[in-house]
Subunit: 171 residues, 2 copies
């Protein structure tokens, strides 16, 4: 059975949208995922002063699930071995929240198939679905870049725009 | 540079001793690591009713460091890439405590080289130092069984009894 490693933030979870909402609320701005994608450097000057929210208790617990992720990952789970691999160890309080979040929204995966780490290059898998070019660059299997506002200028990897597209590609 | 994956509980940390102390305090017994090693099934009947302590906040934060682990892992760190790999995701509250513990006792490793997981067989490394036969059985590199009370009857892997022995073997 082939193994798929799946990133959490901005792949399974709508983390960018939550951050955009926080920035808009703090600054009275109207950033959207689309406008952030078009002007990521300017958004970053608004976002970076708020980056501490990532370390706050509760931040990762209530992030909305990415569209169609539950349905498609459930189907993938029947044909592939699924590992969730999240480079979250910079944020110690996030880890128990991420486990609770996965148990709530993806109970069929199970804690034995979760990985919290820093670097991802020591993970063996056939596929890695990730929004971060740095993780795909060091991955030895087939990498799929999940479309996200901050990776619009990346051309080095096969881009996937949605879970429906992944369904067509892998099922 | 070759990569060594190192387990935490009963390899870097004296977890068995902390559990033995809890069992002795609760039952008025005098178990030692040596006597547990000689009669692990009987100890388990005393231990299992107390296994919930592993889920309690704080359990993993103050475990003593294994003898010579700091000194030897620091030396290994100069010649190998060191990853800490702990199958701790069954215990969600342990994860932030384990990161704090590592930062206190092994600050030179860094969170980017920590992995919290369930299964370990998707970790790529040249060596795995672990006290659990199930982790070594599915590891593709060279496994070293760290001597622990609960693995005394295992003969399938090269056994190491101390960090000093690992120093001689790998340095």
């Amino acid at each position: 059975m082939q193994r798929i490693a799946i990133d959490m933030d901005d792949v399974m979870a709508e983390t960018a949208q939550k951050i955009i909402n926080i920035v808009n609320n703090a600054n009275g701005t109207n950033w959207t995922k689309e406008s952030v994608g078009k002007n990521h450097p300017e958004f970053n000057t608004h976002y970076l002063p708020h980056r501490d929210v990532l370390f706050e208790k509760g931040f990762f617990r209530d992030i909305p699930v990415m569209a169609d992720a539950q349905e498609v990952i459930k189907k993938l789970h029947e044909k592939y071995e699924i590992f969730v691999v999240s480079a979250a160890n910079e944020f110690p309080l996030s880890l128990s929240e991420k486990l609770e979040w996965l148990e709530e929204h993806f109970p069929f995966i199970g804690w034995k198939y979760t990985v919290f780490c820093g670097h991802k290059y020591m993970v063996k898998a056939d596929y890695l679905i990730d929004d971060q070019p740095r993780n795909l660059a060091t991955f030895e299997g087939k990498g799929l870049l999940f479309d996200a506002p901050h990776n619009q200028d990346i051309t080095d990897f096969q881009r996937v725009h949605s879970w429906k597209e992944i369904e067509k590609l892998l099922l």
